[in-house]
């Protein structure tokens, strides 16, 4: 009998002990990730912000606090124009991707059973593979000796290869949409799936035509998916490095390529830090404004990659 009593006392500790145990177990659960993120995300980020105020010369980077890098980044037309161009590419990529993805998302949600599962899987598959590889594959398609030129010449539409298929902004759009469009299709598909079919019935019963039902019921209710997908694609597109480097050509660089150049060519680490901060702040500001407007946490739990 006594052992049972002891066990019961053990299993049901007094209130304070229980609270303390719960607090400690919470520390044990959250602690490792918090420490990790603190050391390897927050501290390096803080250090980058600090270094963005330093000065790089040919002798190295020295810690004197000054605003020179930011003055240059925001006043020089070189950086400012590139930032605007990068944002424009981000917006256009998002719009193209939205226009192409919405009908596919809609199509997928009208399917049933095995057909639906198979086509969803077929949609996912290409996006599960390296984006470096999926960007590279456009080189032998768009290049001078590429598939497209060979095809057009074989058909007789052109007599010599078209040089403008690659190394321009159009090729960047093609590359970015090809690589990132799933991030648009998926959240839209998920939000259309969530719409209560009885709403459609109700609208139809009340005499609404299909086009009208789409405009007044389905489109507004799939809006969260549109916002989530647009944010994801925009964020990915403005951060693009690989696509402009491979498909954009000499004048086709974007902001990330300029950041990279500070480390690879100019050896100006302080400027690289400042440009990194500028890009991050712009991206974060856009995310916060749009996110506040659309409910940011929902954006991320719905917009996740699978």
């Amino acid at each position: 009998m006594t052992s049972v009593v002891a066990q019961t006392r053990d299993a049901l500790p007094s209130g304070r002990r229980a609270r303390r145990r719960i607090r400690w177990s919470l520390v044990a659960l959250l602690g490792p990730a918090v420490v990790w993120l603190g050391i390897f995300v927050i501290v390096p980020l803080g250090f980058t912000v600090a270094m963005s105020f330093w000065k790089s010369t040919i002798f190295g980077t020295s810690p004197d606090f000054q605003f020179g890098n930011y003055r240059e980044a925001l006043a020089s037309p070189l950086y400012l124009n590139l930032l605007l161009k990068t944002l424009r590419i981000g917006i256009v990529t998002t719009l193209i991707s939205l226009a192409l993805s919405y009908p596919v998302a809609y199509f997928l949600s009208m399917l049933k059973g095995k057909e639906k599962a198979a086509l969803l899987l077929l949609l996912f598959m290409p996006f599960w593979t390296s984006y470096v590889v999926r960007t590279f594959i456009w080189l032998p398609i768009l290049g001078r000796t590429g598939a497209l030129n060979e095809f057009l010449m074989a058909v007789g539409l052109i007599s010599e290869p078209l040089p403008w298929l690659i190394y321009n902004e159009g090729a960047i759009y093609l590359g970015l949409v090809y690589v990132y469009t799933l991030f648009m299709t998926l959240p839209i598909y998920l939000s259309i799936e969530k719409i209560d079919p009885r709403l459609i019935e109700a609208a139809t019963d009340l005499g609404a035509r299909p086009g009208w039902v789409f405009l007044r019921v389905i489109l507004p209710l799939s809006w969260p998916g549109v916002i989530a997908g647009s944010l994801m694609v925009f964020l990915l597109a403005v951060s693009a490095y690989v696509t402009p480097q491979l498909l954009g050509g000499v004048s086709g660089i974007m902001f990330s390529n300029m950041i990279a150049a500070q480390f690879l060519n100019n050896n100006n680490w302080a400027m690289g830090a400042a440009l990194s901060v500028v890009l991050s702040v712009v991206v974060l500001a856009i995310l916060l404004v749009v996110g506040r407007w659309a409910g940011i946490q929902q954006v991320f739990t719905d917009g996740r990659t699978r």
């Binding site: 959250l30 995300v41 390296s130 984006y131 590889v133 299909p210 946490q297």
Partner: protein
């Protein structure tokens, strides 16, 4: 039982047909470049591109005889496995913690997701600057691994958290009432049920790490991962074995993700069964 879209399209077969045609062309454009690269990988020509000069498997032989490729493969598998284990482990602990309420919970949520939001190149640059200042040389098991875990952790958390969150807590309470300690409850009740989700998350994490490039490029030391090695081959010269290499890389990451999806399918069936959703 039918979805909203199904309802809509039962009514208008013409629109249905139009959507089918559109979707088929969408899938064709999605897959045509991939098929093209498979064709080119067997092309018997020293120049990447057309015209086709007959069938050969020599580019595949060359890929598997290239020591650079083989060592990059070993590096990518090692980093991918470590990144998957660490980030899935951290994500599981976080997920269990997030079932409770605590101060600054939403701030921590945003912090966990930050590496997704940060521009990719910045994710690498901050580590380059920080470790450079500490005089720690970039290498596979320091900077590259850290960059990969930073990148994979938020996805692992987003994949695992819903599974842990939807878990039926009456099972745990029953075990607790019968006198089990929290750790025993976790080992005997919680973990066996979420194990498929845990394994699926590890496979997804591996494939994310395997494909990671822009965060890795600037913190790579002597040992390259597969995407970094592939990149240097594109930038140096368009080597003729590149299409074959691309096909091998695609096959590996697609297989990993497909495995992840299969396990995750099983996991969701099981969690529905357990949580009675």
């Amino acid at each position: 039982m039918s979805s909203a879209a199904q309802k809509m399209f039962a009514a208008s077969p013409r629109l249905r047909a139009a959507l089918w045609i559109y979707a088929i062309s969408f899938y064709v454009i999605l897959y045509a470049p991939l098929l093209m690269i498979v064709v080119l990988s067997f092309n018997n020509s020293p120049i990447v591109g057309f015209p086709l000069h007959g069938f050969t498997i020599r580019w595949y032989q060359k890929v598997f005889a290239t020591s650079e490729f083989l060592s990059a493969m070993v590096n990518s598998f090692a980093v991918g496995a470590l990144a998957a284990v660490v980030s899935t482990g951290l994500a599981l602990l976080l997920g269990l913690g997030f079932r409770r309420t605590f101060p600054l919970k939403s701030a921590l949520f945003n912090l966990v997701l930050m590496p997704i939001v940060m521009p990719g190149i910045v994710g690498g640059i901050v580590l380059l600057l920080f470790f450079g200042y500490l005089n720690i040389r970039p290498s596979l098991y320091t900077t590259v691994l850290i960059a990969h875990i930073n990148w994979v952790l938020p996805f692992a958390f987003l994949t695992l958290y819903p599974r842990v969150h939807n878990f039926d807590s009456t099972l745990e309470e029953a075990a607790m009432d019968l006198g089990a300690r929290p750790l025993e409850v976790f080992i005997h009740i919680v973990f066996p049920i979420i194990r498929p989700a845990f394994i699926a998350t590890m496979l997804f994490s591996f494939s994310l790490s395997f494909d990671e490039f822009v965060r890795t490029l600037f913190v790579t030391g002597y040992d390259r991962t597969i995407p970094v090695m592939f990149w240097s081959k594109i930038v140096d010269q368009l080597a003729p074995e590149l299409p074959a290499m691309a096909v091998v890389i695609i096959l590996i990451s697609a297989t990993m993700s497909l495995l992840g999806a299969l396990v995750s399918q099983r996991a969701s069936v099981r969690s529905q069964y357990v949580s009675g959703e």
